[in-house]
């Protein structure tokens, strides 16, 4: 295991695939980085339509959760 090995949470399938390839339960930093970037791209692509934040804030105020 290289010195820069870090552990990050990965989706299960990916985690196990990487784990099997590396033969360890830790993932090297460069793999983690690549996976993180890929996930961020997927997430951005899958982002839902904008939530109506003004409406949410109005309800939170009305219920006393926000001043």
């Amino acid at each position: 295991m290289p010195d820069d090995a870090i552990m990050i949470p990965l989706p299960g399938a990916l985690y196990r695939r990487v784990e099997a390839a590396a033969g360890a339960d830790e993932v090297p930093a460069y793999v983690a980085r690549a996976v993180r970037e890929a996930l961020a791209r997927d997430e951005a692509a899958a982002a839902p339509g904008a939530v109506d934040e003004a409406q949410i804030v109005e309800r939170l105020r009305r219920l006393g959760y926000l001043d």
Binding site: M7, P9, L10, P11, G12, A13, L14, Y15, D25, L39, D42, E43, A46, A47, P48, V51, E53, I56, V57, R59, L60, L63, Y65, L66
Partner: protein
């Protein structure tokens, strides 16, 4: 902000014109009458509380969850979210069809039917609860379910009336709230009880290392002898008013039923709080347990199976009041003997609430005891509607 489970917050709740149109379309569909608990779980599915689930589990999803503790998409998931129905009610319904769901005679959602499958009670109970013993409340509940399960995506157009609406926040709302409060780390606290000093100790210990605390009681059917929902909420209001900083703690309800599935339910509880925007989740001794069905720390051990969960579990051991330390302590912090320790047992709690015994009285904040005392019958009675 922490990503929801599966990466995206599900939103299947309609608004405005779309809501009216869906309600009108539902009139023409075969209608399935469901219980209030099922209705609230439809609400949970539609508003992202159960992300990435957007509907009731198909046979494939259920098999994955029961046998692998994961969804077909490989995300961790430990509790079946299913819709049961009598075979007779499904005669006109098949895959590709649609159903209207009604509660107390009022249509509130539609379901696009993916499949209809038979409930295998033995497998369901054995996998979920680790037992088929009928003295387990979850096993009893499965025995009473209808014989068929319907899988498919839901669309919500009207939530049933909710007496606790004032405490009911969706994940989209808690996420905005946490962000506006400037919280980068948020600890979720699951409860089905009124708060005593031990709970407060756990909450404040966790809060010491996080920006905010989300107290999230489960509101819904419980077993006889548990505190009633309105009592839990009033007791927490009293605690938070007098013992928490207003900008460090939030109280909101999680409307669902307790399953009493111990370790599996602990993971489920963590996933739900991740969807609400929590980064950390408190897992106590015998979390979501009942009777002696689970080992005291089984609900801690199960998290080792889920290194990819995304929300960080905070494990707490049993806590007690130590008369020599003069404070709430736990097995890791107090060196004294059992004789010096007062457990937060049900009996002690009742004595504390009755104010009968001065030592017990120190286990519950007086303002909390007062709030509970305002209710003539604070406990769920055996045989009460909804009691498990």
């Amino acid at each position: 902000m922490i990503a929801p489970h599966g990466g995206r917050l599900v939103n299947r709740a309609l608004d405005g014109d779309a809501r009216e149109e869906a309600a009108a379309r539902a009139e023409a569909l075969p209608t399935l009458e469901v219980s209030l608990e099922v209705a609230y779980d439809v609400g949970n599915l539609a508003t992202g509380v159960f992300s990435p689930l957007d509907g009731f589990m198909t046979r494939e999803a259920l098999d994955h969850v029961l046998h692998r503790r994961r969804l077909p998409g490989d995300q961790a998931w430990t509790i079946p979210i299913v819709l049961d129905a009598p075979a007779a009610a499904l005669r006109r319904v098949g895959p590709g069809g649609a159903l209207a769901l009604a509660c107390a005679g009022r249509r509130f959602a539609t379901l696009e039917v993916t499949d209809v499958h038979a409930l295998d009670r033995q497998t369901f109970a054995a996998a979920t609860f680790g037992t088929t013993d009928p003295s387990h409340p979850g096993v009893r509940r499965v025995a009473m379910m209808h014989e068929m399960l319907v899988g498919g995506r839901v669309t919500l157009f009207a939530l049933p009336p909710d007496p606790y609406e004032r405490y009911h926040l969706s994940p989209a709302e808690t996420r905005v709230l946490f962000r506006l409060r400037g919280w980068r780390t948020v600890v979720g606290f699951q409860t089905r009880n009124v708060p005593h000093l031990g709970h407060e100790y756990v909450q404040k210990t966790a809060l010491t290392f996080a920006d905010g605390l989300f107290i999230n009681p489960v509101i819904g059917p419980k077993k006889a002898g548990d505190f009633k929902d309105e009592v839990i909420l009033e007791a927490y209001q009293a605690l938070m008013r007098h013992y928490f900083l207003r900008d460090r703690a939030v109280l909101g309800v999680f409307r669902t039923e307790m399953r009493y599935a111990g370790p599996r339910e602990a993971v489920f509880h963590a996933i739900v709080r991740k969807n609400f925007g929590c980064t950390h989740f408190i897992v106590g001794r015998d979390h979501a347990g009942v009777g002696g069905f689970y080992g005291p720390y089984d609900a801690h051990a199960i998290f080792e199976e889920f290194p990819d969960l995304g929300i960080v579990p905070l494990f707490f051991t049993a806590f007690f009041y130590c008369t020599r330390c003069g404070s709430v302590e736990n097995e890791k912090t107090c060196p004294h003997d059992a004789a010096d320790r007062i457990d937060f047992s049900g009996t002690r709690l009742r004595q504390a609430l009755e104010g009968a015994d001065p030592i017990s009285a120190r286990l519950v904040r007086p303002e909390v005891a007062e709030a509970i005392a305002r209710f003539p019958d604070p406990l769920v009675a055996a045989g009460a509607p909804g009691a498990r």
